[in-house]
Amino acid sequence: MTRTVDLVTATAILILGIVVVADSLRLGAGWGGDGPKSGFFPFWLGAILVLSAAVLVIQAWRRGARVPFVSKEKLRPVLIVLLPALGLVVATQWIGLYAASALYIGGYMRGVGAHRWLTVVLVAVGIPIVTFLVFEQWFLVPMPKGPLEAWLGY
């Protein structure tokens, strides 16, 4: 239900507001020797957030739309994008960005798009190589690297 998600979101924001207020009070939200203390600005931000989120919770409770937030058949395509993306990030940590993106693009093209193997291999290997040339060689912006790059001497 959209109403449920709306309620959960507003409540989460409310809790965040309370956390911010608490941490600001710890730092001191008043006037220091030479100006406002560190917690001054965040304290008021947190306070406004708590108040607005409280009203949003009430609004969501009273007139939140009782329609599904995402229907079952629409949740599938969203997860089909989100979960492999999660996989890409996890894999990047282990084997570096280039190898991970080759696996990710290849896997996605084969698994979701059912492309021919030749196309899959060409795109999945070609894109990371182009990225490597542009970032590491041309603009000198390093990307996370793993055992494959180490083996190749980078």
């Binding site: 959209t2 911010v20 607005s52 937030f69 969203v78 089909i80 996605y108 059912a114 894109i127 000198l140």
Partner: protein, 507 residues
């Protein structure tokens, strides 16, 4: 005075390297504008790390050209595929897509690009004349004035943004809170880190933009089930020239759209309402209002002129006051800080070659842009025929690279993913994302302005009302803040229940 500076600017903008940069920027920008999930703001954000080693003027030319390209590119998908690439191209689909289905796609695109160009040119000319004056005035501003302008910026999101004003407020506050995480440079204390080392570095706005707009947008567009079935335009010189012969008929629409665009555009979030307003006016003053929505060329001209005019006008407060008018301008402002420039009125006196190079490049960029899109429409439209299973992972990889490159840190890639999910949920619950990003970029500046103002006044808030300029700006800001409360009241008083034509999907 002004013209001399502009000439100086052209000497900077017309060097072969900077012209080449402009062409690259426009090409990339148009591609980004056409692709779902990659708009101007996160296109600029992804490219920003690549500009760290460039001279600042070339860097800003690359990023602004990308922005012009994205503005032009948005029209291509609107007309040919009925998919607005950006919220401000929604109104363009109303008549653009029917025209394309009648086989008049080439005419509609020519009209759209030409209108964009006219709107942009109008705003650039106004910027050329007004920017130095505004900067001159702003030089006399102190911290209270700057804080008042910040207040005005954010209250106009609440008052004019449409939708639930409380949700706009929450978005703004969340942005400010994210900006406050980490080291407080004034006192040297750690804020909101709770002992977590990774939080000490704070949240970078580039990562937030890539996540919220990039990943979030992809999730939304797959949910809506993208199908790209569109007409291929038969673009040739003859069609372009023939369309140009008809366009002078709409001179009034051009002028009206350009004015609306400029007026709305230098306030935050103005491009979308400007395009709808311009469309509504064109329809009202037309002799054939019944043709609108069924493929009237004027219905393409009106919103495109206003949207592009507003998009350019958003640069005015960024270069003169250091306050961006749109998320894209906010990212550019962040870029300025990274390149070691102090955004604000001092730029005009301290870095005239940068400011005037930027203004001159707006002329060259838009001229190159309109010629390029006219010539290469079929190429850009063909991008959408790349199968979805290739485009999606490609966009995700590009986003991940962009997020990582900011600080060469893996945690940013995780943040990007989290921001993506947050962006998806927020967008579905109608929390606007643009104010969050703006607040994240401006957070430290706003807090410093507030601190310095309060130190000046020994902690009294009266400083924001007692100084004439700050007082006037604060008054307008408070008016915008109270507008969501006052409007229903006023309407009841007048006894009308008619809803204003608030644009759908105006975020």
């Amino acid at each position: 005075m002004g013209l001399e500076n502009l000439l100086l600017g052209f000497q900077v903008a017309i060097t072969p390297f900077n012209l080449f940069i402009a062409v690259v920027g426009i090409t990339l920008g148009t591609v980004i504008g056409v692709l779902p999930g990659l708009g101007g703001a996160n296109g600029v954000a992804i490219l920003l790390p690549l500009t760290f080693s460039m001279p600042p003027t070339s860097a800003i030319i690359l990023l602004t050209s990308l922005y012009w390209g994205a503005l032009f590119g948005g029209a291509i998908t609107s007309v040919l595929f009925n998919i607005p690439g950006e919220p401000w191209s929604v109104a363009t689909t109303f008549d653009g897509y029917p025209l394309a289905r009648q086989g008049l796609g080439a005419q509609a695109l020519t009209a759209a690009f030409t209108s964009s160009f006219v709107g942009a040119l109008f705003s650039i000319i106004l910027i050329t004349f007004f920017a130095p004056i505004l900067a001159e005035v702003a030089l006399r501003f102190g911290p209270p004035e700057f804080f008042a302008i910040q207040l005005l910026t954010f209250s106009s999101f609440i008052g004019l943004g449409g939708g639930n004003p409380l949700k706009s407020l929450v978005s703004i506050i969340l942005g400010f809170i994210l900006a406050a995480v980490g080291l407080d440079i004034v006192t040297g204390q750690l804020r909101l880190t709770f002992g977590v080392t990774d939080l000490m570095k704070g949240f970078d706005f580039i990562v937030a933009v890539i996540g919220l707009f990039g990943i979030g947008e992809i999730l939304l567009s797959v949910e809506e089930g993208l199908t790209f079935r569109g007409a291929s335009p038969k673009m040739n010189l003859r069609v372009v020239l023939d369309t140009w012969k008809i366009l002078p008929r709409y001179t009034r629409t051009f002028v009206r759209g350009a004015f609306i665009g400029f007026w709305m555009g230098f306030k935050p979030g103005g491009a979308t309402p400007a395009s709808f307003m311009s469309y509504a006016f064109a329809k009202r003053f037309s002799r054939h209002p019944e043709r609108f929505g069924h493929g009237e060329l004027e219905g393409v001209v009106a919103p495109e002129t206003a949207a592009h005019s507003a998009g350019v006008a958003a640069m005015l407060p960024m270069i003169t006051l250091g306050i961006p008018g749109s998320p894209t301008a906010a990212v550019m402002l962040g870029g300025l800080i990274i390149w070691g420039l102090q955004p604000g009125p001092l730029l005009f006196t301290e870095k005239p070659d940068f400011v005037w190079g930027l203004i001159a490049s707006m002329y060259t960029g838009n001229i190159i842009g309109v010629l390029m899109v006219l010539a290469f429409v079929p190429f850009f439209a063909a991008i959408l025929r790349i199968p979805f299973a290739i485009l999606t992972p490609l966009i995700v990889v590009v986003c991940a690279i962009g997020a990582y490159a900011v600080h060469s840190s893996m945690i940013d890639v995780w943040y990007m993913l989290i921001f993506g999910v947050v962006g998806y949920v927020f967008k579905k619950l109608d929390y606007p994302l643009a104010p969050l990003v703006l607040a994240l970029v401006l957070g430290d500046l706003a807090e410093n302005a507030l601190r310095q103002s309060l130190i000046m006044s020994q902690g009294s808030l009266a400083v924001f009302v007692s100084r004439p300029i700050a007082g006037a700006i604060t008054a307008v800001a408070l008016f915008f803040l109270l507008m969501p409360v006052l409007t229903p009241w006023w309407r009841r008083l007048r006894g009308t229940s008619a809803m204003p034509s608030s644009p759908p999907g105006a975020h």
